[in-house]
């Protein structure tokens, strides 16, 4: 009886561990965090939906990028997107109104945001 209980407990623990380590769940978590980060750090300019129509868009001299624009976004590599988020607009030849985020966000957060951008544009880098 006791052996049976221990065996059940072991199987239950293994199942929980396998579920927690599931790559699918990890990706979901990463994108969930990225969506939250996007709302907190990007939406004021780029818009809640990522369409560049944030509440601040009209106050800026250079319009914020529309992240749902697949035609444009597919011309940018993931590395370029990462660098712009991390080091700011000037680092990749864009406007300084886009600030750096490398003191606020961890590298994995920025990588998550790049993936989130790819979801918003529903596109990949196309040479």
């Amino acid at each position: 009886m006791k052996k049976g209980f221990l065996a059940s407990l072991g199987i239950f623990t293994l199942a929980i561990s396998a579920f927690a380590a599931s790559p699918a769940l990890a990706v979901e978590d990463e994108l969930g965090n990225a969506a939250n980060n996007y709302q907190l750090y990007c939406s004021m300019c780029h818009g809640r939906e990522g369409d560049g129509k944030g509440q601040l868009a009209e106050t800026l001299e250079v319009p914020p990028r529309n992240h749902t624009d697949g035609a444009y976004m597919s011309k940018r590599t993931d590395e370029q997107l990462f660098k712009t988020i991390s080091e700011g607009g000037e680092a990749t030849g864009f406007n300084s109104a886009m600030p750096s985020h490398n003191t606020i966000l961890q590298k994995e957060d920025i990588r998550g945001l790049v993936k989130h951008l790819r979801q918003l544009c529903n596109c990949k880098y196309a040479k």
Binding site: N33, N36, N37, Q39, L40, Y41, S43, M44, C45, G47, R48, E49, K53, G54, Q55, L56, A57, T59, L60, E61, G88, N95, S96, A97, P99, S100, H101, T103, I104
Partner: protein, 220 residues
């Protein structure tokens, strides 16, 4: 002899009564703890930031000017037009994002309580903040505005001279509100004060920092 005794007793009573009725600033501020964080450190996760109801006060003595605090505590106004956490107050309406009006602090204190609370808040200081760094005096407003509006686009997030964004505190009356040394420190490294705040760190030399600090100090 008896007369002298009565006089001494009356004097002692006169001195003791105001002390007995003096407001306890710490006790008043403690009530603010339902919305404001009164002890450090600052929160470090997005979930905690999103749950924030009001700005942190555990370094109020480094951040604010006491005279402004006394006035504000008697008649609070909205400083962050989109609320403490902008992302919690935006919604998409039609073609653009709009901001729901920010809730105002409803706690109005009497003049005496405000003075006592301000006294207490001014004791909440950050021991590491450098003082005497900001040099407030003559400055070129044109150069400052070029830096603030054109280069750094501070108006993207802050309302400056009546125009600009809503996601960060308004600069209306900011010169009365903030201690210039704290402004210098915060602009130089916002994440030192609030690790997840959405204002990015900027690489600015001292001359640029002084322009910003002076411009902010002039907004009264």
């Amino acid at each position: 002899m008896i007369k002298r005794g009565i006089t001494v007793f009356a004097l002692a009573l006169l001195l003791a009564v105001p002390a007995a009725f003096a407001a306890d600033g710490g006790a008043i501020v403690k009530k603010c703890g339902s919305c404001h964080k009164l002890t450090g450190p600052a929160v470090k996760t997005i979930a905690e930031v999103k749950a924030r109801k009001a700005p942190d006060l555990f370094y109020a003595g480094s951040k604010f000017n006491k005279d402004w605090l006394v006035g504000f505590l008697q008649n609070p106004t909205v400083i962050r037009p989109a609320g403490t956490v902008y992302a919690n107050h935006i919604k998409t309406t039609g073609d653009t994002d709009t901001v729901a009006p920010a809730p105002k602090c409803e706690s109005k204190l009497s003049a005496g309580d405000a003075a006592a609370a301000a006294d207490y808040l001014m004791t909440l200081k950050d021991a590491k903040m450098k003082t005497g760094v900001a040099k407030v005096g003559e400055f070129s407003k044109a150069k400052a505005k070029m830096l603030i509006i054109k280069t750094e686009a501070c108006n993207g997030c802050h309302s400056i001279e009546g125009n600009g964004g809503l996601s960060c505190p308004t600069w209306e009356g900011i010169g009365k509100r903030l201690n210039p040394d704290w402004v210098y420190s915060f602009v130089q490294d916002p994440q030192y004060w609030d690790p997840k705040v959405w204002m990015g760190k900027r690489e600015l030399d001292d001359a640029s920092m002084q322009l910003i600090v002076n411009y902010i100090a002039s907004q009264k």
